[in-house]
Symmetry: C2
């Protein structure tokens, strides 16, 4: 692996000093910001995540803030998910699509109030799309990137750690809901959410100055819980079927291809820019779709480009994320597979850099 060259353009976060002190070994770049990928090793990080509790610098989940009388209207223009039933205090996973129904991002929308929303984004400059739409449609709304940096607390002991720092009430937050809690006298949005299947929270830190005080407080409070610095874990997220925008899907894909049809209410999401384009695909279904695929053999190398997938010598799709799973003793992977070959149990061949491997389509992800 090559080194990463530091520059201001690859933005540091309010937690970077803590991440470095914890011995980060590798990064990726996400929304032009540093996102740690390895502390001990991907496998050791994975073991720890499933047993204890970790603190993740996910400040790279930048926020797009919508504020003003047209905020709700604009939010609905962005997504085919019907937002009419959403109340303040809720978080919704929302596919964002362009006028062709192509995915531009798959963020979490946080409804702070009727006229104030945050969109907690995956890896694309969604701010520019939202600003362009707001400008072109002359909406009465302010759109910008506020000084908000999420910190995730993930793992089976997340509740215990959070209760020590924010009080017992934090345990009562329901899944994909948020509450307002105090830290150093300042309000913080805390949601039960996060990019793992181990449970936990995301703290939306407003104001970078409190980054290291918050980081340090969590580590002091969690010493006997074996709290550690962590990060989204490649193995665990594939096992859990957590998609990664830019890896498993791009703007070439519709939400339905990504298995996100259940978040699309194409009949009722009036105003959604991509609605017309999605009506037909919603009715007839996509011709390719995301599938969990078990790849046989030893640990596969890192998947840094789409791996072609074949069936009887004919192209059947591609794999875009893959890793060896110690717990399931197979290579877990995520692929986009054509409908002719997407049924569970279908035997495939995956062209990895190490050569062709046999593989099988699964019914469900691993956890």
């Amino acid at each position: 692996m090559a080194l990463i060259s530091p520059s201001r353009r690859l933005r540091r976060t309010p937690f970077s000093d803590g991440v470095e002190a914890a011995g980060v070994k590798a990064y990726t770049v996400y929304n032009r910001m540093l996102l740690p990928t390895v502390f001990d090793s991907v496998e050791a990080d994975y073991r720890h995540l499933k047993q204890h509790v970790q603190v993740w610098d996910v400040a790279c989940e930048r926020q797009v803030e919508l504020r003003g009388p047209d905020a709700g209207r604009l939010m609905q223009m962005l997504t085919p998910r019907d937002l009419r039933g959403m109340t303040a205090g809720q978080c919704f996973y929302v596919p964002i699509v362009d006028e062709t129904g192509g995915m531009l991002n798959d963020p979490v929308a946080v409804k702070l109030s009727d006229d104030r929303w945050w969109i907690s984004i995956a890896d694309s400059d969604l701010l520019l799309w939202v600003k362009g739409i707001a400008n072109g449609w002359r909406l009465d709304v302010l759109v910008d990137e506020p000084d908000v940096s999420p910190l995730a607390i993930q793992g089976p002991r997340a509740d215990d750690l959070m209760a020590r720092v924010f009080g017992e009430d934090v345990r009562k937050i329901r899944f994909f809901r948020f509450g307002i809690f105090q830290f150093e006298g300042r309000d913080m949005v805390i949601a039960r959410s996060g990019y793992s299947k181990q449970g936990g929270y995301e703290i939306y830190l407003e104001g970078g100055d409190l980054g290291m005080p918050l980081w340090n407080r969590l580590f002091e409070a969690g010493e006997d819980l074996q709290v550690r610095a962590g990060c989204p874990n490649l193995i665990e997220r594939i096992e859990g079927g957590l998609l990664s925008y830019g890896n498993d899907m791009t703007d070439d894909n519709t939400p339905h291809e990504c298995g996100l049809g259940k978040f699309c209410n194409t009949h009722t999401a009036i105003g959604c820019i991509g609605r017309d384009a999605l009506l037909r695909v919603a009715k007839e279904g996509p011709v390719q779709q995301i599938r969990p695929i078990a790849i046989d053999g030893d640990a596969v190398p890192g998947c840094d480009r789409p791996w072609p997938v074949f069936a009887n010598g004919k192209r059947a799709g591609q794999v875009t994320s893959a890793a060896w799973s110690p717990d399931f003793e197979t290579n877990v992977s995520i692929g986009m597979i054509r409908m002719t070959h997407w049924d569970a149990g279908t035997k495939l061949e995956v062209e990895t850099p190490d050569g062709m491997r046999t593989a099988t389509v699964r019914d469900t992800f691993w956890i």
Copy 2:
């Protein structure tokens, strides 16, 4: 320095195999694509660039293509530079601004014909802004990212190398003009441009399949010219005053702050979205501006965050790019300095990670 974790999301380019074979040591990520930063060492790469010729994988300069009857109108909406005099075959450096006059990108616009343009972008997803504007204003134009990957040939021997591959006529291309040349029977746009002050070309490769054949042909043809794989060089680009979007400027800055006022025709660029916001700053001038700053002492460490600049203990601005220049035997740097302290010769203090350094504002960049 930490490692960079490979993934599909950090896109490879049609030239990546060549870059790896040439022994790339470090990368940055630019437009969600790998951009090499070091081959031998930053200083050895710099020496070679100034004496010989290098081939740079700058596929990360992604293109935004505008096609259709409203392409010209849309292009003018994006920039305060008056494009009326621009003819097909020309390249224009164009600040792109939002409705507040904030810089969204500083690309090169390539006019292929009246109804077809490429925007060769710096590091932001400008595609999303342009698509949003086109949608909201209901323009009759197609906007997408074509399969075009620029390859730069830079250095004093660039003309000789290019003439061997594309014929003598390539020497006649004037600065910031382009011509159409053949390679393997396919048309290629070749412009006299590039992100160095050593002279050279950018080949806009259409179709990734010809990436390695083109790369290999250039290396075969240039063996006795000591051709080498290279990349934009930190030292050389600071010496030459080549700004880097995301490093030296962000969407907080106006073009005038970036010293790009000469590319803003706010009176005549009718239709530019940020025109109203820029009229006043164009008249009165900015209160801070980009300046070349010589920083005293030994080689400074890498500048991975803004370094505060002071004058008599009062904040006067910040430095955002810095490197030791072997040729000028000083630390060359780029800063954004308040008007009270931006005159050439002004003495400043720069707070580097190694401690406070004395520094001086210069009249001009080094080359």
